[in-house]
């Protein structure tokens, strides 16, 4: 006696015609929601967490200063010294008078370096700052 597996008579195929559309949709989502990476961040940092945080509304005004866990300071795409910050930020402020300086500081850092940078920023008249922090769950 012959055994034969029963198969449905219809074709077994997943329709793939709409696959490109789905992928395009994903693609558009990513294109809209993301911004291009402008600078390479050389320092390694972990942001602190806080609850009472707000979003920076005008991204164009934001300028970043990174301080990594090893204490190196990065402005734009270069590692700088504390004493350089005043000059750099003063020039930036002249180009963009109401800029916001976003401080992305590793949470293991001590306040000494933070205070130094704040003093430099005050000398450069960059008075609007923002301590970058992640949302605490």
């Amino acid at each position: 006696m012959k055994f034969e597996k029963k198969r449905a008579g219809v074709k077994q195929q997943i329709p793939t015609a709409s696959l490109p559309d789905i992928i395009f949709m994903l693609l558009l989502f990513f294109m809209v929601t993301t911004t291009m990476r402008e600078v390479d961040v050389f320092v390694k940092f972990k942001l602190p967490e806080a609850k009472a945080i707000e979003k920076i509304e005008n991204k164009r005004l934001v300028n970043y200063i990174w301080i990594g866990e090893d204490g190196r300071i990065q402005v734009n795409d270069a590692i700088v010294k504390v004493s350089d910050i005043q000059d750099i930020m003063y020039k930036k402020r002249q180009a963009l008078p109401n800029l916001i300086v976003s401080l992305r500081i590793d949470k293991g850092q001590s306040m000494g370096i933070v205070t130094d940078i704040q003093q430099e920023l005050r000398k450069a008249y960059c008075l609007r700052i923002n301590y970058s922090a992640m949302m605490k769950e």
């Binding site: 693609l27 993301t34 003093q119 005050r122 301590y131 949302m135």
Partner: protein, 179 residues
């Protein structure tokens, strides 16, 4: 009669099977080259820089000031009393609330002072607590007065709440001796 029939041409078609692959490639490119940036944080306005020899001190009544000291061990001192960081907002709330109806120049000033070796994380936690105290008082005030949440208020109402409860956080001048 022989049936003359036009030979049916096969319908012209663009092969679209590779379309998915092409868009996958694009997708991967965007995935790799982009970052989802979170630009959130605690905003603050620094005071103008005044050279140390020109600093003028204006007397401020003790009632108006809330001095917050954080030392390198992580102990927090609020007006001379040791408290834990999560208690800051509760402590400040009552004091902010008592000053809602007072004049503009009598609102509470929160002064935060840290040591050079204080951890940055602790400072942010403390600052967060202070901001939270102000935010909560604002929230409650706008609920009481307008019956709405603070973010739902229109511009004039929000301005009024902001005037009644201004966020005044002062970062103490660093002491030169300790450097």
């Amino acid at each position: 009669m022989a049936l003359i029939r036009k030979k049916k041409k096969p319908e012209p078609e663009i092969p679209s099977s590779s379309m998915a692959d092409i868009s996958f490639l694009l997708l991967i490119f965007f995935l790799v080259s982009t970052v989802i940036d979170v630009d959130t944080g605690i905003g603050l306005t620094l005071p103008e820089y005044v050279p140390p020899d020109q600093i003028q001190t204006a007397p401020i009544s003790k009632d108006r000031m809330a001095a917050l000291l954080i030392n390198e061990q992580g102990d927090v001192l609020l007006d001379g009393n040791v408290i834990a960081i999560p208690q800051i907002s509760k402590n400040l709330k009552a004091r902010i609330e008592s000053k809602i109806e007072l004049d503009k120049n009598k609102k509470l000033i929160v002064s935060i002072k840290t040591d050079r070796k204080t951890s940055y994380n602790l400072y942010i936690q403390a600052l967060d607590q202070v901001r939270m105290a102000f935010n909560e008082v604002r929230e409650e005030y706008s609920k009481r007065k307008f019956g709405k949440r603070f973010i739902d208020l229109d511009q004039d109402q929000a301005q009024e709440v902001k005037e009644k409860i201004p966020v005044i956080i002062s970062i103490a001048e660093p002491e030169l001796i300790k450097k």
